[in-house]
């Protein structure tokens, strides 16, 4: 893959759109970005990482060979962010994007990653939408995860560290390579050698084998169950046979009893003409029985009602006596009234006589015949006294005696309906007795029509029939139970047969298991073999690079890479060098990284940030001398002025340097930076803080924060 264009938009210090052209006119593979610190070198480096992988991590730390990844740099928010801060703070719609255009094996590649705020001011990445579009050759435009997969096929993220090299972190690589604890690097070495695919294949096969093993185990288990079920089924067949035999015997017994019952019924048919009489007799007997049972109750009713029969009889005679007493009591009452009345009359008459004055009490006139009147009154008085005496002399019981007598009589008084009740109960009983007698007579008459022999024969047959019917019922029940047992045994047998008959041992599974097992071994062997070959190749290439870059070939003769890809610098005797110089170590690290990258076979650009940080002048030159060639992978460096001077570098690597850019702010320029002018005749206005080119008249604001990406003429 060859990078052709990079278009930055609102990322890092780049506000607005910044197209960077990588299309060179020469065959050089070297690319350089020169800048002071904090001008945007690393931002371009990070823009490309973000464009490719959607994420930019802070520099990682390595502890005891293990790498602890830095956190992601957020797109927006507070602190360090990827988006241009001016765009973030002032633009109405916050948006940033990076477009990367390259030429690959399948043709043109265009990768566009855009982040857009979904709110007025996104405060965190969750409020940003990311859109990724990838177009490779004539393939359809891909989006999202599919697009990311397309990028991974060209530029695997697992190899990021070997193509995006941070010079400032070179010591970490060195530490990892020399550490005995090499987990971090081992993973990455595996990645760069493409071993993960094999490991994944191995894991896939292990998983497939586990599935097949599970199936085989399951089959074996089922086979075991099946074998047991077969044994059980055999036992059940025997059991079923026994049950069928029992059921057959029961059925035979039932048939025997039924045939005997049929014979009895046939015999009874011979006496068919007697049957109605017998039926009638039975009916009469049941009626008699019923009525006799009823008679017991009716008789008891009669006895209960008869309890007061004697009262009814006695009252016939006692009733007139009672009525007499009632009359006497009335007489007594009347006599009392008459006595009182007579006594009052006597009192009145006696009073009249004693108070008689000869003057009429009504008219108050003197009475004409007083003596005659007086004699008349005395006569009336005498008559009243006689009457009173006659009343008082009457021989009548006293009131109390009379009450006692009447109470005594009332003890034997029946209730008004007692007689009717007794007679009704008597009639009811009588009627029932008569009915029973009638029925018994009818029974006797009918009974006479049957001879004793016929009767006993019929009775015997009837009894026999009853016994046989009971026996048939019992035998039928037994036979049904036996049949149910048979059916249950049959069901159980079917179940066991189902269990025993559905297991087939699939030999193919065993074959596949064997094949996969072999494949797993093969893969493991292949990995081991490939790693060894790769190790030898890495060692060979790294030694070649190291030899070229090293400025003391007589001291340091090569690099040894062990099976865990730990590296050592060898001395002239081919032994590990005890105290190699830091420059030699840096060169060794670069050599190994380069060797690993080349062994990986991925032809993608290499991005080296701060390339000369750990190197002296000699090694820096050697480094560029080695990496910048007229063919091979693009090699981009992002260098500050302390590492590589623009003019010297351009001059030294003319022909191998394809493109060079400076990244600056307007205030960095004391000479005119207008393309085609570059005049040094510049007038500086410190008051207005601006510079003016006297040659072309171009003015630039020294306070401006607009980042300038200027192509260096080669």
């Amino acid at each position: 893959m060859k990078l052709q264009h990079l278009i930055l938009y609102n990322i890092g210090p780049f506000y607005g759109r910044y197209p960077i052209n990588f299309m060179a006119e020469n065959d050089g593979n070297g690319y350089a970005f020169f800048a002071e610190n904090n001008r945007g070198k690393t931002s371009i480096y990070n823009a490309m990482r973000w464009c490719l992988f959607g994420e930019v991590s802070e520099r990682a730390k390595t502890v005891k060979g293990e790498r602890y990844g830095g956190s992601s740099i957020p797109l927006v928010g507070e602190g360090r962010i990827l988006m241009n801060s001016h765009a973030y703070e002032h633009d109405k719609n916050q948006e940033m994007s990076v477009v990367l255009i390259a030429e690959g094996e399948k043709g043109s590649i265009q990768i566009t990653r855009t982040a857009t705020s979904i709110t007025t001011l996104a405060r965190h990445d969750g409020q940003m939408t990311i859109q990724l579009d990838v177009k490779v050759g004539s393939d359809e435009l891909k989006h999202g995860a599919e697009a990311q997969e397309a990028i991974e096929s060209i530029f695997p993220r697992s190899l990021e560290r070997f193509f995006f090299i941070d010079g400032e972190a070179l010591e970490e690589y060195t530490q990892m390579m020399s550490s005995s604890d090499v987990i971090g690097l081992k993973e990455e070495v595996n990645s760069i050698l493409g071993i993960p695919a094999l490991i994944k294949g191995d894991a896939d096969f292990v998983r497939i084998r586990q599935g097949i093993k599970a199936k085989i185990d399951s089959t074996a288990k089922a086979e075991k169950v099946s074998t047991k079920a077969r044994d059980d089924a055999n036992a059940q067949r025997k059991n079923l046979k026994e049950k069928i035999s029992i059921a057959d015997k029961k059925q035979a017994k039932l048939q025997t009893v039924m045939s005997k019952l049929d014979e009895t019924v046939e015999e009874m048919k011979a006496h068919e003409e007697l049957a109605p009489i017998l039926e009638q007799l039975k009916m009469l007997e049941s009626q008699i029985d019923f009525k006799k049972q009823n008679l017991v109750d009716v008789n008891i009713d009669k006895v209960v009602e008869a309890r007061v029969g004697w009262k009814v009889l006695l009252w016939k005679k006692a009733s007139p006596q009672y009525q007499h007493y009632v009359g006497v009591r009335e007489q007594l009452a009347q006599r009392s009234r008459l006595i009182e009345q007579t006594q009052n009359t006597i009192k009145t008459l006696e009073k009249d006589l004693s108070e008689m004055t000869g003057i009429c009490t009504e008219c108050h006139q003197p009475l004409p015949d007083l003596e005659h009147f007086k004699a008349k009154k005395e006569s009336e008085l005498s008559a009243q006294k006689d009457l009173l005496e006659s009343y008082q002399s009457e021989d009548l019981d006293s009131e109390d005696d009379l009450t006692i007598k009447m109470a005594e009589l009332l003890k034997i008084q029946p209730q008004s309906d007692s007689k009717d009740r007794i007679l009704r109960a008597q009639r009811k009983w009588k009627k029932l007795v008569n009915e029973i007698e009638t029925l018994e007579e009818q029974h006797t008459l009918l009974n006479k029509k049957l001879t004793e022999d016929a009767k006993s024969s019929m009775v015997e047959l009837g009894e026999r029939k009853g016994r046989q019917e009971a026996m048939v019922s019992r035998r039928e029940s037994e036979w049904r139970t036996a049949r149910t047992d048979v059916e249950l045994a049959e069901l159980e047998l079917k179940r066991l047969e189902r269990l025993s008959g559905n297991v087939e041992v699939n030999k193919e599974d065993y074959n596949i298991d064997n094949v996969i097992s072999s494949l797993i071994v093969t893969i493991k062997d292949t990995i081991a073999s490939y790693r060894e070959k790769a190790r030898v190749e890495v060692q060979k290439r790294a030694t070649a690079v190291f030899t070229r870059l090293n400025n003391a070939p007589e001291v340091y003769t090569g690099i040894r890479v062990d099976k865990d890809f730990r590296t050592e610098i060898l001395n002239s005797k081919g032994k590990p060098s005890r105290n190699p110089s830091s420059g030699a170590i840096s060169i060794m690290t670069m050599s190994v990284i380069d060797a690993l990258r080349r062994v990986s076979g991925f032809n993608v650009p290499v991005f080296l940030d701060t390339p000369g940080r750990s190197l002296d002048e000699h090694h820096k030159d050697r480094q560029l001398d080695y990496f910048w060639q007229t063919d091979g992978q693009q090699f981009l460096i992002f260098a500050h002025s302390g590492e590589y001077g623009v003019e010297e570098t351009v001059e030294e690597f003319k022909g191998r340097l394809a493109k060079a850019y400076t990244i600056s702010l307007p205030r960095d320029h004391k000479t005119c930076f207008q393309k085609g002018c570059m005049s040094e005749d510049v007038e500086h206005d410190s008051y207005n803080k601006k510079n003016t080119c006297n040659a072309c008249g171009f003015e630039w604001d020294l306070t401006s924060q607009e980042t300038l990406v200027l192509e260096v003429p080669l």
Binding site: K292, L295, V296, V298, N299, I300, K302, V303, A306, R307, G309, W310, K311, V312, L313, L314, K316, K317, A318, Q321, K405, E408, L409, K411, I412, K419, I422, L423, A425, Q426, K430, V433, I436, E437
Partner: protein, 122 residues
């Protein structure tokens, strides 16, 4: 003879009448037979009432069977028999026994005619 002077006497009945009364006592096993009385005393009471109502007295003949005095209290019937026993200078028990004997005769006659005992109260 004043009321205080009325003798109670004992009640009894001839063996024949007693046998008749026994045959009139209820028996669960003999529901179709005319046995309308719960006990011998009740049967005796009915016979007495029947004899009294019909005005039929009869002297006892031969051996007689005494009726339990606790279950048949003669004074219960003093009011209706008072004049008679006073007049005849007879004990209450004696009068009652005679009426009972008379009642038994009536019952016997009735039964012998195929009639039922309780028909006699109609």
């Amino acid at each position: 003879m004043s009321e205080q002077e009325i003798a109670k006497g004992s009640v009894g009945i001839s063996e024949t009448s007693h046998a008749l009364l026994v045959s009139l006592v209820h028996d669960d096993e003999k529901s179709s037979e005319d046995r309308p009385f719960e006990s011998i005393v009740e049967a005796f009471r009915f016979a007495f009432a029947l004899g009294f109502s019909m005005g039929r007295k009869q002297k006892r003949e031969g051996k007689h069977v005494t009726v339990a005095p606790r279950q048949f209290i003669v004074t219960d019937y003093q009011e209706i028999l008072k004049k008679e026993v006073t007049k005849n200078k007879q004990s209450l028990g004696g009068a009652i026994s005679e009426y009972a004997e008379g009642g038994c005769s009536i019952i016997s006659e009735t039964v012998s005619k195929g009639k039922n005992v309780l028909d006699l109260i109609s």
